[in-house]
């Protein structure tokens, strides 16, 4: 019976546990988004450098993170690298490393694309005014690029939030894992538990991601005027 099943959400400390799981999800996502964005902007900027070596290293880095699934990265670092170096890394730390590096790789491409889409003459106009190379970036190119890369960056952020659900595979207890644990324990008493628990998780992810896209829409609208 559906109407009796919903009580599984508030039974005991179930809701509290789900919230703690959500906190893990949000923590990993948020820290990775921040670190990934900072590193990604830096890499995106140096990718406009004319040096072939820098260009190659940046491209290699980007492709490596694009081609290899995030799950495999988590495994390589959590099981492989720790084993090889004979160290122990906490699952959450590994998740932060992998998600930050993945975010940075994708972010760098968004930044590069935004910078390249700006008219070439903007640089010359800035130089002709007596601005230095970096001042042109600071006052002219980056502010314009930020506006262009916002949709892509927000899209990446929501993708990162969603992809954190993979951390279960290296033993991190996130909101999905907590949900599974609660379902396993309650399923005999409440056969509809998985509907209600996963339903709540569905809503929770929506609550986390929706403000991001709402915020980006507002910013875009603001810059439009």
């Amino acid at each position: 019976m559906l109407n009796s099943g919903i009580s599984v959400l508030v039974e005991g400390i179930n809701l509290q546990r789900l919230m703690l799981g959500l906190a893990v999800t949000v923590r990993i996502a948020l820290i990775s988004i921040i670190l990934g964005s900072l590193l990604g902007v830096f890499i995106g900027l140096i990718r406009s450098s004319k040096s072939k070596v820098i260009g190659f290293i940046c491209r290699f880095y980007l492709e490596v993170f694009r081609i290899i699934p995030v799950l495999v990265w988590l495994f390589i670092i959590y099981f492989g690298v720790t084993n090889l170096l004979n160290i122990h890394l906490d699952g959450e730390v590994v998740a932060l490393i992998v998600f930050s590096l993945w975010g940075a790789a994708e972010m760098s491409d968004i930044v590069r694309g935004a910078l390249e889409s700006l008219p070439k003459h903007q640089m010359e106009s800035g130089l002709a005014l007596g601005l230095s190379f970096w001042e042109v970036y600071r006052y002219i190119l980056i502010p314009q690029a930020v506006r262009r890369m916002l949709p892509g960056a927000i899209n990446l952020s929501t993708r990162m939030v969603k992809t954190t659900s993979l951390v279960v595979m290296i033993g991190v207890i996130d909101v999905v894992k907590v949900g599974q644990q609660i379902i396993e324990r309650s399923v005999l008493k409440t056969p509809t538990a998985s509907f209600w628990i996963y339903g709540l998780i569905f809503v929770l992810y929506f609550i986390v991601c929706y403000p991001l896209s709402k915020w980006s829409k507002n910013l875009e609208a603001k810059w439009e005027n």
């Binding site: 003459h121 002709a128 005014l129 007596g130 601005l131």
Partner: protein
């Protein structure tokens, strides 16, 4: 003999040589510009007119010869372009206003961030210049809300607000709707009347005739003629200049 020739020399170009990947673009350009003089550079497409202007504020590097601006050698390897570019105002064909800034912000960027002038003083000058080109009421508009002619007039104001000693105009009306050419050329004529030193690259022959103290005709990277507009348009000396002028007469 123009009045300007009694004035001190502001810009002196000698034997200027410029190559792109081995192809010669400027082949021994000699040109002296006096303070307050308006020099119009004419010539067929690809003759090196724009490149010449771009060499004067360091957007292109040169392979030989010298450029002296107010006594400073700009072809010296150690030249610091930042102060030089504040002396040389340049307006481009594509009126590149900064799209994320309002008209006033565009105009004030150089004076405030480069020249470190007081905001209030720079703002006064900017507003005065905007009034002069008839765009004061558009000071808070963004570039996309302006017509091509308006954008180009703002680009001129942006360069003027740095108080340059010389202004370079690189085909500033070439990308404009014909109806908007006039409003931009009027601004430049106004500057000429005020004694601004200018080098103008243009394809507007009527305008060249009206504004120039001297016409410099360039072909294939070489100066063919340096004469008064009257002489150039009525009695060009070189065959190449005659051919060039014929194109503009139907």
């Amino acid at each position: 003999m123009t009045i300007a020739e009694n004035q001190p020399v502001l810009l002196e170009i000698k034997e200027l040589h410029k190559e792109y990947d081995g192809a010669t673009v400027l082949d021994g350009i000699d040109l002296t510009v006096h303070k307050g003089e308006v020099v119009v550079v004419l010539g067929p497409s690809g003759c090196g007119k724009s490149t010449l202007l771009r060499c004067l504020n360091g957007l292109e590097n040169v392979q030989g010869g010298s450029i002296h601006l107010a006594g400073q050698n700009l072809t010296d390897k150690t030249v610091d372009w930042k102060p030089v570019r504040q002396q040389v105002g340049m307006v481009f064909q594509n009126y590149d206003l900064f799209s994320h800034m309002t008209v006033l912000e565009n105009v004030l960027l150089g004076p405030v961030k480069v020249q470190r002038r007081a905001k209030k003083e720079a703002l006064e000058q900017a507003e005065q210049l905007l009034k002069r080109v008839g765009l004061y009421d558009r000071k808070d508009a963004y570039p996309r809300q302006l017509s091509g002619g308006q954008k180009q007039r703002i680009a001129i104001v942006r360069a003027l607000c740095m108080n340059p000693q010389i202004m370079l105009f690189d085909e500033v009306t070439a990308a404009l709707d014909p109806e908007m050419v006039r409003e931009v050329l009027d601004v430049i004529l106004g500057l000429a009347a005020q004694g601004m030193t200018m080098i103008i690259v243009t394809h507007e022959m009527g305008f060249a005739k009206a504004v120039a103290d001297r016409i410099v005709f360039i072909d294939a990277g070489k100066i063919c003629e340096v004469v008064t507009p009257d002489e150039f348009f009525t009695n060009p000396k070189t065959e190449r200049a005659k051919q060039f002028l014929n194109i503009f007469q139907y």
